[in-house]
Amino acid sequence: MKLTDTYFLTFAALLFTIGAVGLLVRRNVLVMFMCVELMLNAVNVTFVAFSKTLNDISGQAIVFFVLVVAAAEVAVGLAIIVAIFRRRRSGVTADDIDLLKG
């Protein structure tokens, strides 16, 4: 069996869907965070797959940017989550944090 880019793209699509559905259905903030990471990495896989197929290195270069942004996002996001946990011991699901509403 030869691995064509169809496999990679299908895998990435599955990964992205799992992440997206997870983000929508789970309320645990940490889990939601991990789902975001799944989606980001699904995109990364797509980039690399196309880079390989089209023989263009820039796709892989962009992956590095995505990784950096993801790392930064995790750092900031986790800090916020920790701060929220410190402030209120219970009720820290995503639906409880709804002060910013119209």
């Binding site: 997206a20 983000l23 929508l24 309320r27 939601m32 995503a94 639906d95 944090i97 709804d98 002060l99 910013l100 509403k101 119209g102």
Partner: protein, 709 residues
Amino acid sequence: MNARDLLDTIWIVPALPLLGAVVLGLFGRRIGDPRAGWIATGLLGAAFCWSVVMFAALLSLPDEARRNTVELYTWLRAGALEVNLGFLADPLSITWILLVTGVGSLIHLYAIGYMHGDERFSRFFAYFNLFAASMLVLVLASSFLLTFLGWEGVGLCSYLLIGFWFQRRRASSASVKAFVTNRVGDFGFMLAMFFIVGALGSLDYAAMDAKAGGIAQSTATVIALLLFLACIGKSAQIGLHLWLPDAMEGPTPVSALIHAATMVTAGVYLVCRTAPFFERSGDAMTVVAIFGALTALLAGTVALVQPDIKRVLAYSTVSQLGYMFLAAGVGAYSAAVFFVLAHAFYKGTLFLGAGTVIHGTHDEQDIRHMGGLRKYLPFTGIAFVIAWLAISGVPPLAGFWAKDGILASAFFDDAYVVYAIGLFAAALTAIYVTRETLLVFFGNERFHPAVATAAGSDVSGETGAGEDGSAPAAAEEVSAATTSAAEGAIVSEPALAHAHVETASPTVDYGTHTAPTHLEGNPHEGTSVMVFPVLVLATFAIFAGLLNLPFKRLEFLTEFLDPVFGRFYSPYPTSFVAGLTLDLVAIAVAFTGVGIAFWLYRKGLADPELDPLNQRLGALARLFGNAWYYDKAITYLVGGPIRRAADWLAGVFDLKILDGAVNGVAHLFGFASRGLRRVQTGLVRQYALGIVLGAVLLLLYAVARVGIS
């Protein structure tokens, strides 16, 4: 230093009084009572000296080169329009600055005596100097915009000075009235400037002189009429004249300087300066002449029966201003300028004389309560008599030559109706001034309440429905007893101090009568600073005729102004006989007027209630006395229908429709926001769902467009 370099320093003339206004405005209180007045007078005197230097410099140039513009800097630049702050020196502006600084200095000097003891003495002189500076800017400006600056400046000073004694309710409302009425005219000035920019592309007088002859006649008419609207406001011509009589609430030096000698003649200056537009239009000149003649006539009739010493002079001023416009309207510009000069001298004398009388009788302004004052105010009396003869048109005083010049111009211009009206107005002038002079300075003495009571008038009542008694014999006795007390000597200053301003105005309306003011002792002559300027002005009133005698090569003023106006004059056939006949007619009219009034008032008033002229005119007297009910009609119109229309505009149109539209838009957005803000739930997962759904939709769209290959 040649003459042109010298003329470039003409900005010093307005700068000197402006300096005075700033210094007195900032440090006036510290400078104190007499000194502030001396500083103001000194600075304006210096400006006069510099004006004389400017005059000499201009004379040293050849006739056709007598025009010098100095541009100090670019004031504003907008697209093609560029306005420079520049001063124009030509015969017209030089004549005017000599008048403003010369007469202005004398009246400043007078005011030192008149305002002595006033709580806000230095403030008065700050305003007075600011007025002089504004007036000088007005006449020296090289462009319409700078003239407009001066125009507004004098309007402001007029407002400040009319309301100088704002403790008097009438004074404060009169100042507002003057300001608002002038605003109507100023609106014409502004519109005219817009049209001028449109027609000429420039606001400079140089551009006007060069190009105004080439614009369409209709444009010229519109511009000229709008400019004349401004003149109607500023110079109190019929229609907008109603502020000037009320302006007499200001201190008398203000009435003399601003509301007789200088500011109100700014309209005449503007018509003369913008003559190219009026000449191009032609129709506009007819309008000016008609307005002038009507004003001269109507204001003259009103002056006949007024009981207030200053009101008579105020209506007289309106009437004389009408004469000036009459002259400008028939194209006799230099005659108009000559009349402005002569009028400044004799009307200045009359006003300052009236001021001394008011001052000497402690705020009495009712001429029915005066009489025989020549005994107590000898110098003022002499000056007043000179000015009386001058304004009446008795030769060889200034007024005769000035008035005759205008009437002759009207006659030779074939404006016979205007000529006839002018002649009739001249007779009226002679009558009312003679009446005032005789009632104030001659006849029986009526200034002591006892006399008035003895004569049978109502002392306490406002309405003055005194019983019909007559006891001239008693009046004579009392006056004989008081004669020896004070031979019109010049009284020492402290006795004259006006320390406190009463809240009630001493102005006397037609048809009202109050008791004479309480006067301890007899009326007294003013101090020397008050007497001197009056006598100087009276001297000018005698000899000013020499400026422009209607004989060949003696028309100095006309020849001096020739570079400005010469191109507008068309030679008309004159004959010596025709001229002489006109002179004789004018003299006859003047003497008739004086004679009528003399016969009526030769004995003064037996009873203050019974004014002979008033009695003889009957119903007409009420019409004249109430100024043709114009003021009342305007009050009714503005207070009634216009007020209601304005209320509707403010209460319904503005509040409901204009504001309603604005508020409606705001309400619409508020309403929409209240609905839309529910979208912001604060739930992160809902937002994420939204994003996902959006992404899915975009994907579907892309698939639908492109299709899956």
